[in-house]
Each structure stands twice: as structure tokens, then as C-alpha cells.
Amino acid sequence: MNTTMPALTGYLRADGRKGIRNIVAVVYTVECAHHVARLVVNAFPGKEVHLIGFPGCYPNDYADKMMRRLVTHPNVGAALIVSLGCESFNRSGLEEEAAASGRPVHTITIQNNRGTRASVADGVEWVRWALESLAPQQRVPMAPEELVVATICGGSDSTSGITANPAVGVAFDRLVAAGAACIFEETGELVGCEFHMKRRAATPELGDAIVACVDKAARYYTVLGHGSFAPGNADGGLTTQEEKSLGAYAKSGASPISGILKPGDQPEGGGLYLLDVVPDGEVRFGFPNISDNAEIVELIACGAHVTLFTTGRGSVVGSAISPVIKVCANPATYERLSEDMDVNAGRILTGEASLQDVGGEIVDLVARVANGEQSCSEALGHQEFILTYKQFEPSGPGCFPLKAA
């Protein structure tokens, strides 16, 4: 296998990690502060100023951990926190975490800052200063071992499992061989694949943990009444959850599975990781992932620098914080939505390219995007973000075999 990849560069952070973007994150800590935070972001069109936040007024450990991981993500250079003032979110803890990571950070509390207009003006002034202070930072060489790449599928159809997903699998195998950490996810869409995955686990304990994790997903979705399957999946020729799962599973490639992550956990070095997105404990707070961006943000909270998004029906989303690369499975969809698609994996179906060709194209594009080239969704201004209530327990001892070794 080709284990080399093109040279990479990134921005060095105080914790030793490197980012591929130098973003100022503007963070609202309750929906009531969303508008003020959005007006601050809107003052910087075309700049690397991204809006993220949590809408709830009531505390949630998962959301707290997610926000801490996001403001200290290597792609983030500085953070402005916008709080209403009376919400439960631990804004001072978030500010301390960002400051301890060496990032410029500032909090504006609207209730103590003369309301909307003054808070927007102060926020704009601080972000302008943050952009100026980040601007002189130069990129430095970045090793493949420092890169984290995630994958997700959305708007899957019957072609996804034939073209885009196995092509990402080829790319994942090459990235893992080069030393990168790669993360695949959505245990609810791996129902039916658990025993195959178990055979790929680095240790027997991890194999058992993978089976238990998919069982949990099947139970969760059964209580909720239906699986991770949208009407468009059926319109695209997929009939059952397990058929969709098998196609989705192809994204993981053939590397051994090195560990299970929960949202916000960081990979312990290179290798292939499964992200467990289904909450622990009794079913509460509704669907585990109400839309694709809820999963993308969890992958980013695990440190993903870039996300490979495969689609058959044609999703157009991007994300705040980390670029999204679209790999289109269906040649007819590519024809309709080519401006939104980075890679046309439909060429595998029409016989114009092999899986290996498209897998190699994806690796090259990951390197170009890491080095600063904008993906299609990024250039179109997509910065979707969603964070909802969830609950997780810490990962069990079998989940990180590399750490235990």
C-alpha cells in the first residue's frame, strides 16, 4: 500500500497540537445570547470567524465537555464567549480552559454590558483585535501523525455503499498507514456489522466493547421507534437499516480498529477509531443525533481537522471549526449538485475511475485542504453547527487498548 502522503503544514498551539485553520470562535452559552453572537460574526464576512454555541439554559455535562473541546480545538486560535448572564452554562470554566490552553479569550455578559448594541460593538472590537493578533502566525511543517480525519455519511442512497463509502475506506487505509488518526462513527448505522467489526478489534476486550456499543444503539433506536433511516434513503433504493449499515461500514476501510471514542475523547495516537455517538443510560433527551451536523460536531470535538462526508442524495452542509469535504456517490446527483461536491465518486459506477483512483484523489484533497485550500462547502460559506442535550459515562477500560499497552 502507498503509505506516503503529501507534505502538510499547520498552526502550532501551546499544547503541541497543530491546527489547519486559525479561527476565532464566537461562542454563545445559551440561545438568549445567540443573536448577539451572530451579529458579531456577521461583522466579519469572509474571515475565519465562526459561530458555535449551546442553546439550553439548564446544565449538561456532555455539552460542557463538548464546548471545552471545541474552544481548545487545534483549528481555533482564539475564542469570544457571549453569555446572557443568568443561564446555567459554566462560562467561567470555559474561559479558564481556553486561557489555560494559551488562547486569547474574552467573555461578554450581555446583562452586565448595557444590552445588545453595546455587547455587539464590544464583541466586534475584541474579534478585530483577535484576528490582528493571530494574523502574523506562520504555518509550520505538520507530520501525518498529527492529523485527525473523520468520516460521516449523510443523504445515503444505494450507490453510497458501492462508490463513495468504499473509496473513503481506501483513503482511510492510506491515511492510517501514513500514521494519521481516522474516526468513523454512527453506531446506529452499524447495526448488523458488529460481529465483523469485532474481528477487526485490536484486542478481545475492545471487540466485546464494540458489540456492546452497537447493542446499545439498537436498543436506543428500538425504544425511539425507528432507526437511523430517512425517507430519502428509501427513495434512493435502500430498503433496510442493515443494508444502509453495510454500505456505511465500508467507509472504515480495512485497518484494525484501535479504540472506541465517546464525543470529546481524543485519539491516543494514530490508527482507526470508532466514535460511539449513542448516549449511555436510559433513553432521554430524544434522538441521539437529530441531523448530520450533530455528528460532525462530535467528530470535531474528538480533534478532527477535516471531515470526509459521503452522500448519494446530495447533502450540501459544511461545518464550523473544521472543513467538510464532500464525496458524491451517485453520478446523477453529482451532475445536479457539482458546485457543492469536491469529489465525484460516481465515476466508479460509470466505469471512468477505480476505487483506488478515487481513494487516492481523496488523500490528495485532504492534504490540499489541510494546507489551506477551501473545500466546496467552505468556499460557499457553510458553517453549520448544532449541539443538543446528551449524557455519557466515561469509556470503559477496554476502549483504549493503545493507552493500556
Partner: protein
């Protein structure tokens, strides 16, 4: 940019030898004659790109395999060359939710 395979290229894909379904590589017309395992079959209905057709005749209760793995159970008799979808194939795990003619409908699972 072509959206269909070159003329003469196979029009149905077999994902794995043990499969009993085939995948339409492009949209196929009703009445089109295709060879399935050397036997000529006239398609009784149009098959959109990516949809499944039965590689062999199926009885209710037969497991359907794609990628060499079970993707569900036939809920009706299916002739060779007929479309396999939510009307005659159901999950062994969890029902499939579709936007049907009655707006919202669950297609029953085998459980």
C-alpha cells in the same frame, strides 16, 4: 460528465458471489431484456439507478443478501428480475420509515 455506464458495460452489479440480489448500475426500463446468470430475463418494471432486483426467485421468509451479508427478509414471493424494495423486503432489526402515499407510514419489520 457521463452519468451512465459505457454501452456494452454490465447493467447490473453483483456485489458479492453469495448475494441473491443485483444492483442497477443505471436506470433500467420496463421490458428491457437482461441476462442474469446466463438466463435472459425481461424486466417486469423499471428499476431506478441503485435499486435492487432479485437474482433468483425468492419465497417469503428467505434472507436477502447484499455485500455477502443479510440485509433483511423477503415478505412476499419475488420473481427473478423483479424489484426488491420496501414492498417485499423488511429489516430483521427495526422498521423502515418512509413518506408513502398516506404521508407517513412504517413498513412493517419481521419483528
Amino acid at each position: 460528465m457521463p452519468t451512465t455506464p459505457a454501452p456494452g458495460a454490465p447493467r447490473l452489479l453483483l456485489m458479492s458471489q453469495e448475494d441473491n440480489c443485483l444492483i442497477a448500475r443505471t436506470t433500467l426500463e420496463a421490458g428491457e431484456a437482461l441476462a442474469i446468470d446466463g438466463v435472459t430475463v425481461v424486466l417486469p418494471e423499471a428499476i431506478p439507478l441503485g435499486y435492487k432486483v432479485a437474482r433468483s426467485a425468492l419465497r417469503p421468509g428467505d434472507k436477502v443478501l447484499r455485500y455477502g451479508a443479510v440485509i433483511g427478509t423477503a415478505t412476499a414471493a419475488v420473481a427473478r428480475g423483479a424489484m426488491l424494495h420496501t414492498h417485499n423486503l423488511a429489516s430483521d432489526y427495526i422498521p423502515t420509515y418512509t413518506l408513502g402515499p398516506d404521508a407517513h407510514a412504517f413498513i412493517g419489520s419481521t419483528h
